[in-house]
Amino acid sequence: MNAWIIAIVTVIVAPFIGGFLAGIDRRITARLQGRFGPPILQPFYDFFKLLGKSKIAASRLQLMWIYAYLVLMITALLFLVLRLDILLMMFILGFAGVCFALGGFSSRSPYSHLGANRELMQMLAYEPVLLFLALGVYAQNGSFLISQIYASPTPLISRLWPIFIALLVILTIKLRKSPFDLSTSHHAHQELVKGIMTEYSGPYYALIELTEWYEIVLVLGIVSLFVANPLWVGIIIALAAYVLELFVDNITARMTVGWMVRFVWSVGVTLCILNLIWFWVFAAFKGVS
């Protein structure tokens, strides 16, 4: 029964946290750009305003896929809070991303088509790092269960810090921040319009906003796993990582898709593999002695 309560509380509370963080994002970004910025609660005002707009769409299929995007994102988050299998959680997160991309493909819009293709390239870049992270968790704990991360007295970051750095790199992609805000951006860009989100408006766009809030909580939750004991340290690290991303967003310019894939694969994937090699060698030595 306990699991049900945790699940229900998560589904209700997570969007508030995510929306609040999005509000802080807008405020800090504004300050960095020498503006005053909107109220912290502005994302919520926007959300309810969007809900009141008239429903319009470019095809039925795109709506179907964004519902799937929302449901799967919530499912991935539930995997985290219910402390289930981290590898499977990554696959579900991948499914959510695929649904979002398919939503972008589901109309004959050049902008959303471009954005959807870029979204897939982003997945090609970040998916290996997320899966390597799961392998790293196994290498350290001998289990893929998130509950074991909480049970372990050794924090993940002590031995998985290279993977942690790789995670920070792909956090930029997942939060759609510069230099990797390629498929869609929080800032207006002429050649992209709103990218993969171009064809959504009104209540349907509100649905995507809601999903993004869940996603913020989820990815920061993954960051916090690196210091799961005590959890408050992990949460502080996650929030610090979030603020760091805001700074990165404001001091970098958007790069090309090809550059992103090359960068993440050469830096992120290499860090992950080196980290895992270290575990392997370590295990080999332990086996010998």
């Binding site: 008239s54 429903k55 769409a57 470019a58 095809s59 039925r60 299929l61 709506l63 179907m64 519902y67 799937a68 449901v71 799967l72 289930l84 299998d85 590898l87 499977l88 696959f91 579900i92 991948g94 499914f95 991303g97 695929v98 649904c99 991309a101 398919l102 972008g104 493909f105 589901s106 109309s107 004959r108 819009s109 050049p110 959303s112 959807a116 293709n117 897939l120 390239m121 997945m123 090609l124 998916e127 290996p128 899966l131 390597f132 392998l135 196994y138 350290q140 704990n141 001998g142 289990s143 893929f144 269960l145 074991q148 049970a151 319009v193 171009t198 895992l276 090699i277 575990f279 392997w280």
Partner: protein, 661 residues
């Protein structure tokens, strides 16, 4: 219940009889009824095998059957020589000679035929063979039913003067019998015979359309698989020279093979890898797509390539714990990665499917190389799930081809509006190939969770997995690009198309939702028959739990991973199926897409005012990255690395012998 010898006869000889009948009877409807009846008989028979359980069988007139097999062996090889000479294809000729000469030497020169005749039992039907015969009989039969109408339309489109459908169905139905024989065979000469028979049928089916390309590709499939046949004969010669009983049981009886036996085991795995189109031998399977689609469906899902992974799995205990095992895992994992990467650059639907098959076979072979109970479980589950999903995918590709008369992904743009039913089925098939909650992902998940013993294999899995998302999603994306309009008409298709398609969709959900029952009722026993130690997977509540020893708490039976099967299917229903049915939209809510205010017309057009106010149609295209990921760019690397891996694989087998001496 049917007597056991009758069940064996139905499994192996009934397809032969049915094949001869469809060859003789040239009426479309009668022929169709025969195929359907044979299909039903095979399906029922395979279920009888499941109910009967593990058993062995030797035919009553062993001598006569041995004679038949020997004569047919030489007839097949003589036919290869004939093919080689008549096509002036020297590779076919050379590799036919490298088979027939050593085989004759083994049987008559060394006196191996007596040893081969003494093998008892001739057939061993254990649980792995039962899994295989279920896959072959059920998926294979559905494909044969699909072929009845498909070949009719195919020839109608070709405007042939004389129908060749009888010939096609003859080989197609015969294939099922050959495969059943192959997975049951224990006697190596029977194994070799059925192995060559599948190669022969494959050649005949690929060459079916008799175009220059078809014949060339068929010849390539023939000579490549003949290399495999040669390796199998050499393995038999070594086994005979070492006084090992000439049967699979004989090789496997001693557990891990002694160092001297590692070489024949490596040779047999090599044979199997060629049949499973592992790199660098992938080109025969890629070439096979020139054949009519039911051939591809059969080759890729339930027959031919599955014979390859079957043999590697069967031999897994013989190389467990050796360096050969590590190399087999790496060859498979490398193929998984390279084929997944190459699939991104493919513009033809069937070629994407072919690369995806090669990739997934690589994954299965890698699992056999990882060689833990969990990995073997993953491999057997993958064989089942892949057969169902890939069978469906090829039948979809065939149906789409007969709707739009093209195989190019770019021509499938907006198929969701033209043919909503086949698009829906195709979408289900694609999602089932790489996403949760479906079985293929379950298998991949288990493979990754078991791969920690060979870290390099796990890393290759990760990269392959990321590439897989891209090539499936971008293809599916092309099907969905529709204009904003409502109420597309559902296309009408022949029952011979729709019945197998929907049955396979049902199968995907059936084996997916019921994976716990599939595991306990079928796969668990098969794993125990392959590798008898330990049980890695437990059914717990609504899901599957992977057990192991924890590094943290060091207690036995500690959960390593957990896969909640039913909750994930419920999530899938809420996320995808319910919106698919219930998301409604009113005509007034539709708007044309955003084109910077330059649309030319309403929602029913995709034209816009281009320069000088000329009306221009929007053109969208997929990304293929030919420059970076194309065959021309990657193949030099993939060929080099895969050949190096194969050489090292043989080197470790030879080094083991050196070490033993």
């Amino acid at each position: 219940m049917l007597p056991y010898n009758w069940m064996m006869a139905v499994a192996i000889l009934l397809p032969v009889v049915a094949a001869v009948l469809v060859y003789i009877i040239r009426q479309y409807h009668v022929r169709g009824v025969i195929v359907i009846l044979a299909a039903i008989a095979l399906i029922v028979n395979s279920i009888l095998f499941l109910l009967h359980g593990k058993d062995t069988f030797s035919p009553a007139n062993a001598q006569m059957w041995n004679m038949v097999v020997t004569v047919l062996d030489y007839l097949i090889l003589l036919f290869y020589i004939y093919v080689g000479i008549s096509l002036k294809n020297w590779l076919v000729l050379i590799f036919a000679l490298t088979q027939i000469i050593p085989l004759a030497w083994l049987e008559f020169g060394m006196g191996g035929s007596a040893a081969l005749a003494n093998v008892n039992p001739t057939f061993v039907v254990d649980h792995l063979a039962i899994v295989m015969t279920l896959v072959i009989s059920i998926v294979g039969s559905l494909i044969c039913v699909f072929a009845i109408r498909y070949m009719y339309d195919h020839e109608h489109h070709q405007h042939l003067e004389k129908s060749r459908q009888s010939r096609f169905l003859f080989w197609l139905v015969l294939f099922l019998g050959a495969m059943n024989g192959l997975v049951f065979a224990n006697n190596l000469i029977y194994l070799y015979f059925f192995w060559e028979l599948t190669t022969l049928i494959c050649f005949q089916l690929i060459a079916h359309d008799l175009t220059k390309e078809a014949i060339g590709n068929a010849a390539r499939a023939l000579w490549m698989n003949s290399i495999g046949g040669t390796a199998l004969i050499i393995a038999m010669i070594i086994l005979f020279a070492k006084d090992v009983p000439m049967s699979l049981n004989g090789i496997l009886s001693g557990g891990v093979a002694s160092a001297v036996l590692l070489l024949p085991v490596a040779l047999m795995c090599f044979t199997a890898m060629i049949k499973a189109a592992q790199l660098p031998f992938q080109s025969w399977l890629l070439g096979a797509m020139v054949a009519p689609t039911p051939v591809s469906a059969l080759l890729h899902s339930s027959t031919m390539v599955k014979a390859g992974v079957y043999l590697v799995l069967r031999l897994a205990p013989a190389f467990a714990g050796t360096r050969l095992s590590v190399m087999i895992a790496l060859v498979g994992a490398f193929t998984f990665m390279a084929a997944s990467g190459l699939a991104i650059s493919q513009t033809t639907g069937k070629r994407v499917l072919a690369y995806s098959t090669i990739a997934n076979l690589g994954l299965i072979i890698a699992c056999a190389g990882i060689n833990t109970p969990l990995a073997i479980t993953a491999a057997i589950l993958l064989i089942i799930f892949h057969a169902v999903s890939k069978g469906l995918m090829f039948l979809c590709a065939g149906t789409i081809e007969h709707v739009i008369w093209s195989r190019e992904i770019e021509d499938m743009e907006g198929l969701a509006a033209k043919a909503p039913m086949i698009t829906t089925i195709t979408a289900i098939g694609m999602l089932s190939m790489f996403l949760p909650p479906f079985g293929m992902l379950l298998g991949k998940w288990m493979a990754l969770e078991s791969a920690s013993v060979i870290p390099l294999a796990a890393w290759l899995f990760v990269i392959a997995s990321a590439a897989g998302i891209v090539f499936w999603a971008k293809w599916l994306g092309r099907l969905l690009q529709v204009l904003p309009k409502l109420g597309s008409k559902i296309e009408s298709l022949s029952l011979s198309y729709t019945v197998p398609l929907w049955l396979l969709v049902l199968g995907i959900f059936g084996v997916g939702i019921g994976v716990a029952s599939v595991y306990t009722g079928l796969v668990q026993n098969a794993v125990a028959d392959v590798i008898s130690s330990g049980q890695a997977l437990a059914v717990q509540g609504w899901g599957l739990t992977v057990n192991g020893v924890s590094a943290v708490s060091s207690t036995a039976n500690f959960a390593v991973g957990n896969y909640p099967v039913w909750p994930l299917f419920i999530v899938f229903a809420i996320a995808v199926l319910i919106p698919f049915i219930f998301v409604a939209i009113k005509p007034g809510e539709l708007r044309p897409v955003y084109m910077c205010g330059e649309q030319a017309g309403g929602t029913d057009t995709d034209e816009w005012y281009s320069t000088a106010d000329v009306k221009t149609k929007v053109q969208l295209g997929g990304y293929y990255f030919q420059g970076v990921l194309g065959e021309a760019a990657l193949n030099p690397w993939t060929y080099t690395l895969s050949i190096v891996l194969m050489v090292i694989m043989f080197a470790v087998a030879l080094l083991a012998i050196g070490g033993a001496l």
